[in-house]
Amino acid sequence: MSMIEAIRDAHDVMMARDENVVVFGEDAGYFGGVFRCTEGLQQKYGKHRAFDAPISESGIVGAAIGMATYGLRPCVEIQFADYVYPAYDQIVSEAARIRHRSNGEFTCPMVVRMPVGGGIFGGQTHSQSVEAIFTHVVGLKVVMPSNPRDAKGLLIASIEDPDPVIFLEPKRIYNGPFDGHHERPVVPWSKHEDGQVKTGYYKTELGKAAIAREGREVTILTYGTMVHVALAAAEETGVDAEIIDLRTLLPLDQEAIEASVNKTGRCIVVHEATRTSGFGAELCALVQRHCFYALEAPIIRVTGYDTPYPHVNEWDYFPSPERVGEAMKQILEA
């Protein structure tokens, strides 16, 4: 199963199990979304449960909050993460705080899905990585899968979660595990172990990281597309890296991070998003505080540069296996 099919399947499973689950977004109804993640749901569950929304992100999220507080479990799609900003007020000031400010009288069990990240020549309006603007908000859970199996399990867990979840889908790996080698064709998920997705209902617990590769020399903390880039870097450099796929950024699996860094004594943080005030800064602070005496070298961050996402210079911007590999060599020499 591709990640698109896995996400579609998670919707299908949950809509069949729970008639409170409703799905809507721009082009998400009849057409099934520009990436086809909701294809067929309207035909199967009816227009009142899967429908097209007006082009109004604040409207989509605001309406979802209303439905969630009524008692439904809306799972809505923002067409690209780059378009989520009009909804930011609804997410930050409303969804994230409704439980707290009403002391649990009202709650907001809602999922806001959106494709993130670059690698598709989408320029600055179809490539951004927005995780840090959500992890900085109290009251939101933030999830980013790196493969179809996790995508399905995490989405089901997100829909069942009693609180608002921001579900970020790295669009570059929708169809296959892209490792940063843009000059090579991508192997489809159907040929990959993590593309073997179980049918029916299963959950992948939120807040639990996965070890994408066990290793002894250096810990790589990463998520989304960059998991595959880091795997390629480890293979190409021969560095025995332990690659932690965080999967959920909030709540964060601090235990898994500490266990790995305490074992390897070295840590590299890799994300596609811009560097300054990125989620990597949070990871560096945690590692510094909790693994200080195990660290044998300063932590390195490999990230996007602090510029708007470029169009034609995409491959100079996108953290490549070469850049991650360089960081690995550098940290081992330190």
Binding site: E26, H48, G122, H126, P308, H311, V312, Y317
Partner: protein
């Protein structure tokens, strides 16, 4: 104070509804793939019947015009009614040429995308009259805030196509240095604002720009552009509030081409009312116009521009047209609408309609038209060849240097960006 008994109306039992199961209404287009095209939902007024009001009208006085449709060209290509301004031959020739060149350019660039020379392209097929005719009533110094489908604004002023192609190819001569997605141009010298690519955000900016002109006692006006779908965004509503409150010298255009990617205009609110009607509620005079009628577009744009220039405030115009092509090169409309929809569109093709009118007036002929088409196709082929010699997405060695991505983030590059540029090793 003496206590008086309040006289509350007593509710009659008949007015109260008995409990009933509610259901959700979700608008649905009349036709889907495989269906026979049906445009009976489009309210079309007879040609020439819509009055031409005085320039200083209020929104309320002309509220009927928001629900009507200004039309000038009839089925025979004759100009009719109070909006039929006698346009000189060279204006019509210029308009036809600009529309035809827009279409020829689109055809060439669509092909270039299919050949892998660029990542993305968006055609304006079927909508050419709107941006072309509006640009023709503007003056140097006015500013348009276009969406990604107003390339006609540039063709109407004979903007150098090579500069447009260089942007589309993100090549070494691209004025935007390969930063922006193809077609998200920025040409200040042509009164063409930098297109952001996000929807509706720039509608309110057009109003603000016009307010700036009014604050400074200038004589420039602004034009905002939006699609039917994006009128659902908050920024559309902010724009109308600000424009109405401050009587900003701005033309607020809504291009209703019936489709927002796969969503028909009913999803944006076009089922229960028309988009021009939004203006009435905000106190902005509003008109609904046949957008495929070059003469109507020209006349109404001129009227709205004149209102703005005389400090009479904003005008909202809903142009009725049809998106004949796909939303973009990433879209396949056969998945959600009848394949032959466009051939049945009741307002026809803007180029064919102007051509018919000009032939009727003895200014043009079928032979000249065919010849012009070939000439423009050849012009685009030659220009594309030159642009491609400066690089395409397939010849990345010609792209602007990666070092340039660090420039113009700020006027002065802060130290952390300098360090990152060094890190990149360029």
């Amino acid at each position: 104070m003496t206590k008086e008994k309040s006289k509350k109306p007593v509710a009659s039992g008949h007015e109260k509804s008995s409990p009933q199961k509610l259901s959700l209404h979700v608008p649905e287009p009349k036709t889907r793939p495989g269906d026979k095209p049906d445009f009976s939902y489009v309210r079309i007024s007879p040609v020439g019947e819509t009055p031409r009001p005085a320039l200083d009208v209020s929104a309320i006085e002309i509220r009927d015009l928001a629900f009507g449709m200004v039309r000038v060209l009839d089925d025979q290509g004759e100009a009719q009614g109070p909006w039929a301004v006698e346009l000189e031959e060279d204006v019509l020739r210029k308009g036809l040429r600009a529309m035809m060149r827009t279409r020829a350019f689109d055809k060439r660039m669509q092909r270039a995308q299919r050949q892998g020379k660029t990542s993305f392209y968006m055609q304006a097929t079927g909508e050419e009259a709107i941006s072309v005719a509006q640009q023709m009533v503007l003056r140097k110094g006015d500013m348009s805030f276009p969406t990604y489908r107003q390339q006609g604004l540039l063709f109407a002023q004979d903007f150098p196509i090579l500069e447009m192609m260089n942007q589309i190819y993100s090549n070494e001569k691209d004025a935007l240095r390969g930063r922006q997605l193809p077609v998200l141009y920025s040409f200040k010298k042509a009164g063409h604002f930098t297109i952001s690519g996000n929807l509706a955000t720039q509608y309110i900016q057009a109003v603000g720009w016009a307010m700036g002109s009014a604050i400074k006692g200038d004589d420039k006006i602004a034009c905002g552009w939006i699609g039917d779908g994006s009128t659902a965004e908050n920024d559309f509503h902010s724009a109308l509030v600000f424009a109405g409150v401050y009587r900003a010298p701005v033309i607020l255009n809504i291009t209703n081409n019936q489709w927002a990617i796969s969503s028909f205009q009913g999803i944006a609110g076009g089922e229960a009312t028309v988009f021009a009607a939004r203006g009435v509620g905000y106190g902005v005079p509003a008109l609904r116009v046949d957008g495929n009628d070059f003469l109507a577009v020209y006349a109404v744009s001129e009227w709205a521009a004149e209102r703005a220039r005389r400090n009479l405030g904003p005008t909202l115009i809903e142009w009725i047209t049809y998106r004949a092509a796909a939303h973009s090169t990433s879209d396949d409309p056969s998945k959600y609408r009848p394949k032959d929809d466009w051939e049945h569109w009741p307002l026809g093709d803007p180029i064919e309609r102007l051509k018919q009118h000009m032939i009727k007036r003895g200014m043009w002929s079928d032979e000249q038209h065919v010849q012009a088409e070939a000439e423009y196709d050849e012009e685009m082929r030659v220009a594309a060849e030159e642009a491609e010699s400066y690089g395409t997405l397939q010849a990345l060695e010609h792209r602007p240097s990666p070092a340039e991505m660090f420039e113009n983030v700020f006027e002065e590059m802060p130290p952390h960006l300098r360090r990152q540029r060094q890190e990149m090793g360029v």
